[in-house]
Symmetry: C2
Subunit: 383 residues, 2 copies
Amino acid sequence: MVKRAESRSWLAVHSLATALMLSLALMPASAAVAEETAAKAPEMTWHNVATANVGGQAWSDVKAPFDRLPARAEKIVRPEVWTLSRDSSGLSVDFETNAAKFTVRWKLNTPELSFAHMTGTGVSGVDVYVQDDAGWHYLETGKPAAYPDNQVDVAAPRGRDGEAVHYRLYLPLYNGVSSVEVGVPAGAKLKFIDPPQAEKPVVIYGTSITQGCSASRPGMAYPAILGRRLGREVVNLGFSGNGKTEPEVATLLAELDPAVLVIDSLPNLSPELLAERMPGFIEIFRKSHPETPILLVQNPIYPTIPLKASPYEKVMRSSELLAGIYADRVAAGDKQIGLVAASDWSVDGGDATVDGVHPTDVGFVMLADKLEPQLREALKSKL
Amino acid sequence: MVKRAESRSWLAVHSLATALMLSLALMPASAAVAEETAAKAPEMTWHNVATANVGGQAWSDVKAPFDRLPARAEKIVRPEVWTLSRDSSGLSVDFETNAAKFTVRWKLNTPELSFAHMTGTGVSGVDVYVQDDAGWHYLETGKPAAYPDNQVDVAAPRGRDGEAVHYRLYLPLYNGVSSVEVGVPAGAKLKFIDPPQAEKPVVIYGTSITQGCSASRPGMAYPAILGRRLGREVVNLGFSGNGKTEPEVATLLAELDPAVLVIDSLPNLSPELLAERMPGFIEIFRKSHPETPILLVQNPIYPTIPLKASPYEKVMRSSELLAGIYADRVAAGDKQIGLVAASDWSVDGGDATVDGVHPTDVGFVMLADKLEPQLREALKSKL
């Protein structure tokens, strides 16, 4: 994103400022309207998010409304995977409202609000984006202040109150939620926008990096960034420390019908485990999906790779093995398989991660930049 | 930094990997050596960091060794500024050691280890960078695990153990430390490198953004990034929420002899306060420093600026006023004054901040990119 920056001209913004000053003189600011509304009309209408409204969720037969695996997975996958599948990473809720101001309430599942190397906003917070002519734009973050109940007030974009505005709400990356509600002043309209049924989602299977550690807020995990850039639903099946490419997980993935399957699990696999499991993992999915593009992602080159022997060896070996697995599939006639080269976090002074392994927002932008072009081609089945 | 990335060729790294495999077969990995050393020789020699060793510290007559203002400031500045001056933001310690492994111990001043929108590693952690032929490179982060005592083990870069390696340790951004020690195995040499006396530092006066909220770790605050890029000591005088450009602070700054003074305080000033205080603030410093370059920084264009009336008006007005103050000084014959245009965080989907105001690492890289070229010119007195 930084890379793609085309700096808006200061002068253009400045002229806009002058125009705004004039318009402000003629009409009250939306913030002022919102405050007035809240003061005069404390009654809010609360709209409860239901399973059908959730974007980024691959199964509907869930045990709780914001789970990432189906209820039956509890008896199939390892307990660690099941527990992590209850984190709401990658889940989002789209809605339209004409309210000048609305409030989001979310109820957290666990009291651990943050990690030493990850913000509370990323672990347990929510993000609100707004759609305009240029695409999605960041609007507001809900900071977690307590367990379990939290809320954030959001003002409609300047000049658009009264109009039906399209918002996206991202849910916590490393906590779960038992309920999410959007409240609007009585009389305002709100409509949840269910994920489109016609367009297949991108499904990403992976590790803590996929799940979003250590994005500063939910909208900055790389699957969320890609979802906004591609304008397509992305399912985040990252399981922190537990993306171990087990056959039972492949069997669950094989139930889905994604536009593209991305497999990004190398950081959680020893070279031995990778060699043992990856070919079978791909094969299980491929058997029922002969034409679905699959992208295999190499292990990131951590910023300490040039400096530390131990991860260096493992990372290089893993990526080499994956390249071999890819070559084998191509040789066997698989035309819908791609290999994504390792993202190199050792460049630029090695400043893309928080701890040498988990990307900051800088690293997540690098990852999105790396994956986006190949995903676009894969969506056209050009691998 | 993302912008400046020139992706290292995967093939080049790969060939290096092959070379490494061979060398690994011939000698034990440094990590293994370090582990063995720790097991056999638990006695460590601890080296205590003294005031003289601290980089990024402008005064030596301090009340406690890691304060950012002199002891006498306690009776001069507002209590909020004094309290914040005890956060170790921007302070660093350079040292050389030939140890295969060393340990950093730091003792925190306050038990608040993190904020909802800022990591523990940024608020209360430490960072270790290492110097090599290409410049500074990130090596390790010390995560704060408890109050007050914390420590982190660091392995020497691969292939350089035995050699005197130059490290930089960054101290917490939003906490203070009462002591910092570096321990090496008995017999290993360690030498602190005091800040150079010959070269004047860059001094940056500002707000929470200058202090480093919400960098993911201490090395990612923009003054720290600039220090590494410029190869020069940078003094961080950011006071969160309290960069209010008071005359008493200007009087303190006038005691210093910086290479360049950067004034980045607009986010903490209303347009009225800015108009009232900034000209006098500059004048107090300028009186005793007729030839020292001063850079005035415009208010960042927050990512929600296009969307929210309230900050829009304030930000535009502040930057316009600052441009006027700059023009007045130029008209009055001040040849050593520069104006840094606003950093625009509204581009790229507005993803440069954690909350609309405080930059993430993405925003800090943008800020460093914005300031670096003008600082380089200012260091040559070309304004």
